[in-house]
Amino acid sequence: MLELMQQIVNGLSLGAIYALIALGYTMIYGIIKLINFAHGDVMMVGAYIGFFSVSLLGTNIMVAMIFAMIACALLGVIIEKVAYKPLRRATRIAALITAIGVSLFLEYTTIFLLTPQQRIFPQGAFPVHDYNFLGLSVSNKDIFIFISAIVLMIILQFIVKNTKTGKAMRAVSEDKDAAVLMGINVDNTISMTFALGSALAAAAGVMIGVYYNTINPLMGILPGLKAFVAAVLGGIGIIPGAMVGGFILGILETLVSGYGNSLYRDAVAFGVLILILLIKPTGIFGKNTGEKV
């Protein structure tokens, strides 16, 4: 029982990371119906900015995270303006291919500029020590990841629910044309969504750097896909769904590598995905909408 608790605690920080990435996926999907395959790579860029901020500028990890978030928010907006905006009226699949193109571009530009080598996240930036708590061992690394993820989620929830921009975002994802008629600037709202989503991804990137200690240019692919699974699991386009989905996936994965075969860890995410799609394709929080003829 204690071991199970321990595994769940371990899974919480991984789940928090997945949840942060999933939030960006779900917001972007909600607003322009695009699976943004480049999202995981934005996270990778965030991890690198955090890494350089810590190792070159010598900032602490919080400042590094804020730098990464600001830079990636900009990057997200640029990607949206350059690559996705011209395709807003094109077919979904064309946009999807463009997203794949952007993803490859970010990965291989990073490889070109910074070599494919993996880099060790400086230990000095984050001295790790473990706490014992009711027989469970928790490292301050996990606490840091968990708490900052929760804080970011609360901020996001506040922005989406209580500000004008958030209201506009919800309106555009509900019905783009009606939003235009109500005088909402759809282009700006979409850019804002990309900025927010990418900033969250950047924060997650820095956290992954802290969590796994290493970063490399292709690190975004798998967490990106898994976060997408988390978004689908919770119900895509639904913000609380992405959070819950992320945590479920993170805990499940830790349990599988803790108790079973860690080689099957990556299959878990996809197995869960297929199960949820077959049982309830709209996700845990999704509502069934009837088909219109």
Binding site: I97, L104, I274
Partner: protein, 322 residues
């Protein structure tokens, strides 16, 4: 000239043209005009054509977005390698078993997932493709993550050529049959075609199974040319590669898929000379083509001798989409 426009006349022209292409390339290979590098490019080209044309049946004609094509390719490759390398069976048995194995995988995956639509289907097929890969990684009999090395090189130009011709022939005839019309009706409007009495699920599964069958064929040819297979080769990036070819060529255009497969293979071969920036250029070309020509090179039109003739005489630019 009249005789040539009849059905038989066209058939004879096609057979002659194919025979000429086959002998010419065979001559180039035996005479040593095509070196090793050319032959590898030629092989990838043929395999890519088979993959693109078969995925185009699923994505282009049936309108079901599948991202799991590499998984079926992997099934074909592994099944055939087990038969030819481990059990010493002849190549033809490996081909048949590989194709049937992939088709079976397509059936098993297609029946539950094809109830899903659009992006959900895309992600589910991507997930299945990745699951196939992870399962292969965990089977020690076929080498686990290291894969199988030392596969006999049985894929010859003859097999590649036959593979391409058979794939295009079967899929093109399927599309032009009554089955094909039903399949296209599913793409155009699923609800309307269901109302007209088309059993949409059956046709979707049919297209999926046929597509998987030929993906398996491509996998068999791949495994028996490149000496080594690993699960990592067949990850979702490979599926993306094929999808890129299909969308580049134009969804629902077999000739488009062929042209795009040739184009992408040549582009990759040319860019090999610049390994550092290869993928960056590839990505940029991808983004630019999608922004400036989102319907792909051919749209859903087919390139035929007739259209070529019209372009030649400058009568119309029939490349424009409707």
């Amino acid at each position: 000239m009249k005789m040539l426009e009849t059905r038989w006349g066209k058939f004879i022209i096609e057979v002659v043209a194919l025979a000429v292409i086959f002998t010419l390339v065979q001559y180039f290979i035996t005479a040593g005009i095509f070196n090793q590098y050319h032959q590898i490019t030629l092989t990838s080209m043929c395999i890519n054509i088979i993959l693109a044309v078969s995925l185009n049946l699923i994505n282009g004609f049936t309108g079901q977005l599948s991202l799991g094509h590499a998984g079926f390719m992997a099934v074909g490759a592994y099944v055939s390698v087990v038969l030819t390398k481990f059990m010493g069976m002849p190549f033809i048995v490996g081909i048949i078993a590989g194709c049937l194995g992939a088709a079976l995988a397509g059936f098993v995956i297609g029946v539950p997932t094809l109830r899903l639509k659009g992006d959900y289907l895309a992600i589910a097929t991507l997930g299945f493709g990745e699951i196939i890969r992870v399962i292969l990684q965990n089977i020690d009999y076929v080498g686990g993550p290291a894969g199988v090395v030392g596969i006999p090189k049985l894929t010859s130009w003859g097999w590649l050529f036959a593979g391409v011709v058979v794939t295009i022939f079967v899929i093109q005839n399927l599309i032009n049959s009554s089955y094909g019309r039903a399949i296209i009706s599913v793409r155009e409007d699923e609800i309307a075609s269901e109302v007209m009495g088309v059993n949409t699920t059956n046709y979707k599964v049919l297209a999926f199974v046929v597509g998987a069958f030929f993906a398996g064929f491509a996998g068999v040819l791949y495994a028996h040319y490149f000496y080594i297979i690993k699960p990592e080769t067949f990850n979702f990036l490979k599926s993306f590669d094929v999808l890129v070819m299909v969308v580049l060529g134009g969804l629902g255009s077999t000739t488009g898929a062929v042209i795009a497969a040739v184009f992408v293979t040549l582009l990759t071969a040319v860019l090999q000379a610049f390994p550092a920036v290869r993928m960056i250029i590839y990505a940029l070309i991808l983004i630019l083509i999608m922004i400036y020509r989102p319907q792909g090179l051919m749209g859903n039109k087919e390139l035929s001798v007739k259209i070529l003739g019209r372009i030649w005489s400058g009568k119309d630019g029939s490349f424009e989409d409707k």
